[in-house]
């Protein structure tokens, strides 16, 4: 009996590595600390009422951002573990098996559990406010999306201490990810973690499309929609087209592992390359899904901090929509070496080169927006300026990779690693940071400290180039990706060591950002104006932090940069737009169903990972029960009375 328990425990928990034991201890301590703090300050009710059951898009956005920064921390630690190993290849800091798990986890964390939620956080915070709307189209669904993402991420993260991590790369190619190649539960954790959060992402895509199409303020025609919202729209179009493919692909891989199907196996007529095609049909649009909203942020920021109208608004919109369309036709460039034949490779090489054109158009639009503008260099603008050269270099190396014959040389080398880190960090992450700094005062009501922010920016940027520029060259020297060690005779050490220094500099930059947030919370530079940057779009016309109902009266839009034009009118001594009388505001009620249903999904995922149907089936029943409970609930909304609106507006210093 005792022996069988011992066997079970040593199989169920990951054992044998001091790093993991350290993590176990810190997880237990953190959990205990959180429970203690919540109990000591009597905050459980507050947590439940104000956060876990909220359907307010601003709070959902904040939760996305907090979760994504935690994941950034974990993905970042993984990166530094890898860089340490590569700086001292003979020190055996990580075993090759452990190294495989770390690079797999790093990729999944960064793309799916850091970039996606940080992006969704910005969607949630900015889009309804830019549209002059009171919430997203489906607030309940929005909360469900968040909790599905969160539970999926937790399921995936759990594999690190329970059962063992996935180790077949961030896209989990078969046959390695099949039962024959990966018999442990790590791949199942990957499948269900990504699947559950992917369903959440798909619903977010639907939600924001409907919000943007149907909930624009009166007068906001398509040519007056703020550019960030346009970027969200183009990204969501790519989401609804791409994510169903991911759902199917992961489901098929799971059927192979769970029921012994033969979709991607080496025997029984399966075709492993089918998986690689399918996963990249999602995976390539996915990188554009991530980067398009960052382009939107840059466009907002560059116009606001140049005090000029965005140059080439129409061409910008056209460029973004064409990217979201073309993104679906380039997937094969991830595996030119598969051997599809010269004609197929040629097609995908050309589409890949074509997609660089709209991207290039945007770079010129940003530059021309700045031309003769009154530029100021606050942190959102700094990240934008840091982005432009970085993305140009990353884009150029991308065009180099798109030439199919040359790609046979670059394929899976560090050259590729350097390229995609440059476009994803220099493009997406810099963009999200710019957006986070830009909208921070609007969500939280206080500004982040600029001095520490500038330090963080410079350390990050210098660290970035020190880390990734050498990787291009070490890649051209023949170093392939996913290599945990290399011989001294290769001559790769100096560049790897330099790269590691850069990696740690970026880590230091992150610490500066944490310090910046902590410092700013302590010294609280309150934003009393609601418009700290002198910006242009509707979200800056309301107080900071934005009240629950966003807009006391629904704004009527007459111009593209409506708030800027309004300020100009007032400055010219003209009367501001007349506001209608206050009316009670119709709002959705909080709901505990999304949180509970997401826990049921987690239960299903966990049960299926271990093939324990006695856990999975109650989970399924829970999902069905919560869906029905929601369908049968007709009491889903309430009104905020006029008195309360008046009180809230007066507290924010507004007279209505």
């Amino acid at each position: 009996m005792i022996d069988s328990i011992k066997d079970f425990v040593s199989w169920f928990f990951v054992t044998g590595d001091p790093l993991i034991y350290g993590a176990d201890v810190s997880i237990v301590l953190t959990t205990v600390a959180i429970i203690f703090v919540l109990t000591y300050f009597g905050k459980w009710g507050w947590l439940w009422r104000e956060w876990l059951t909220t359907v307010d898009h601003k709070r959902v956005g904040i939760m996305y951002i907090i979760a994504s920064l935690l994941m950034l921390f974990r993905g970042g630690v993984d990166a530094l573990l890898m860089r340490t190993q590569l700086a001292f290849p003979d020190m055996k800091f990580l075993s090759p098996e452990h190294y495989n798990e770390v690079f797999t986890t790093h990729g999944v964390e960064m793309i799916l559990f850091m970039a996606m939620p940080l992006m969704f956080g910005l969607f949630n915070i900015a889009v309804p406010l830019q549209l002059g709307a009171r919430d997203v189209a489906f607030p309940f669904l929005n909360s469900l999306s968040f909790w599905l993402f969160f539970m999926g991420a937790m399921l995936f993260n759990m594999s690190f201490v329970i059962g063992g991590s996935a180790n077949a790369g961030w896209l989990s190619y078969p046959p390695l990810s099949e039962l024959t190649g990966s018999p442990s539960v790590g791949e199942d954790f990957y499948i269900w973690g990504v699947q559950i959060s992917g369903i959440g992402s798909l619903m977010t895509g639907i939600n924001f499309i409907v919000t943007i199409v149907k909930m624009r303020a009166p007068g906001m025609t398509w040519s007056k929609v703020p550019i960030f919202t346009w970027s969200v729209f183009s990204s969501c179009i790519a989401i609804i087209v791409a994510f169903p493919v991911l759902t199917v692909t992961l489901a098929l891989l799971f059927l192979d592992r769970f029921l012994g199907a033969h979709f991607f196996t080496m025997d029984g007529g399966g075709n492993a390359m089918m998986y690689v095609n399918l996963i990249w049909m999602w995976g390539h649009p996915e990188v554009y899904i991530i980067v398009l909203p960052a382009f939107g942020v840059f466009s907002e920021v560059v116009a606001a901090f140049s005090r000029k109208r965005l140059f080439g608004y129409a061409s910008m919109v056209f460029a973004m929509l064409s990217i979201s369309f073309l993104a679906y036709f380039t997937w094969l460039h991830h595996f030119f070496t598969m051997g599809s034949g010269a004609d197929v490779n040629l097609f995908f090489a050309i589409t890949t080169m074509i997609i660089a054109i709209p991207t290039g158009v945007k770079i010129f639009n940003w530059l021309f927006t700045m031309y003769r503008g009154r530029i100021s260099f606050e942190t959102p603008m700094l990240w934008t300026l840091g982005f432009i050269p970085c993305f140009v270099v990353g884009g150029m190396t991308g065009v180099m990779l798109s030439a199919a014959p040359a790609d046979f040389q670059f394929h899976n080398s560090y050259f590729l690693i350097a390229h995609f880190h440059q476009v994803l960090i220099g493009g997406a992450v810099f963009g999200y940071f710019a957006g986070l700094y830009y909208w921070w005062p609007k969500i939280f009501g206080f500004k982040l400290n600029e001095t520490i922010g500038k330090w963080a920016f410079w350390i990050w940027n210098i660290g970035f180039y020190v880390c990734f520029m050498p990787q291009y060259f070490v890649g051209l020297d023949g170093m392939t990706r996913r290599l945990s060690s290399y011989g001294w005779d290769r001559g790769w050490w100096a560049m790897n060591f330099t790269s590691t220094i850069g990696g740690f500099l970026m880590g230091l930059g992150f610490l500066f950002q944490v310090w910046q947030i902590a410092h700013s919370i302590k010294f609280m530079e309150k934003d009393t104006t609601g418009d700290p940057w002198g910006a242009r779009t509707l979200e800056w016309s309301i107080p900071s932090p934005a009240p629950l109902y966003n807009f006391a009266t629904v704004p009527v839009v007459t111009d593209r940069d409506d708030w800027w034009e309004e300020k100009e009118r007032i400055a010219a001594g003209k009367a501001p737009k007349a506001k209608p009388a206050l009316e009670p505001i119709h709002m959705p009620k909080n709901s505990s169903i999304p949180f509970i249903q997401a826990i049921c999904w987690f239960t299903v995922g966990f049960g299926l990972v271990f093939h324990w149907l006695w856990i999975a089936i109650p989970g399924f029943i829970g999902i069905a029960a919560t869906m029905l409970a929601h369908s049968f609930n007709y009491d889903t909304d309430y009104y905020i009375p006029v008195d309360e609106i008046k009180r809230t507006e007066a507290e924010a210093g507004r007279i209505v």
Binding site: N207, K214, F632
Partner: protein, 204 residues
């Protein structure tokens, strides 16, 4: 539209400032159907790639029995028609007609599922399982996913029938009838493709 759910937090440009919340939800459902369409398209593509990969086992010609499939097809097409009649009854304001046609629809749906399950069980008992070959993996997954959708639809319409008996025809239940009907017609259209690409092309 003046009704109990005054949708003042939903609005659209160019209008009076108010947009119907139920219209919003219908539009959202159309977008969802696009995603479901792509989901099926992916499964069809997978099936068509793996169709000939029988791993030495039997192919479509040897195992499909067309008479049953044709009956299934007619049952499902009829259920789509009765679901349309339910919407017509709704538009005419007849709760009795609406409930009646919805019940007929789910009964036909249940017959379809029963026949499909029988077909699957027969195949499995003959030793043709999802494990046998890539062709059968693709077949069971594609047709099974459709069947799962129909089963979900049956549960959903059942829940809707209970709500209709409780609340009668309101803007909310009206929207729900429209959406389930859309969903049902969509599954019907998918089945036409299953019938053509899986069965007809299989036994050709």
């Amino acid at each position: 539209m003046a009704h109990a759910h005054h949708p003042s937090f939903a609005h659209e440009g160019g209008h009076e400032g108010h947009h119907d919340l139920e219209e919003l939800r219908k539009f959202g459902f159309w977008i969802f159907l696009i995603t479901d369409c792509i989901l099926f398209a992916t499964l069809f593509a997978t099936y068509l790639v793996l169709r000939e990969h029988t791993a030495g086992g039997p192919g479509a010609k040897e195992i499909f029995e067309m008479p049953g499939v044709i009956v299934e097809t007619f049952i499902l097409l009829t259920s789509s028609f009765t679901s349309g009649l339910a919407v017509l009854a709704l538009n005419a304001g007849s709760r009795k007609g609406l409930l009646g046609w919805l019940i007929v629809t789910i009964l036909l749906g249940a017959c379809f599922i029963a026949m499909e399950v029988t077909e699957f069980l027969k195949l499995v008992s003959e030793g043709h399982t999802i494990h046998s070959s890539a062709f059968l993996s693709g077949f069971f997954t594609l047709v099974g996913t459709h069947g799962l959708h129909v089963s979900l639809g049956i549960c959903w319409i059942t829940a809707l029938i209970i709500q209709l008996t409780r609340h009668g025809i309101t803007p909310v239940t009206q929207r729900k009838v429209h959406i389930t009907s859309l969903y049902w017609h969509f599954l019907d259209a998918v089945w036409i493709f299953v019938f053509t690409f899986v069965y007809l092309m299989g036994v050709r």
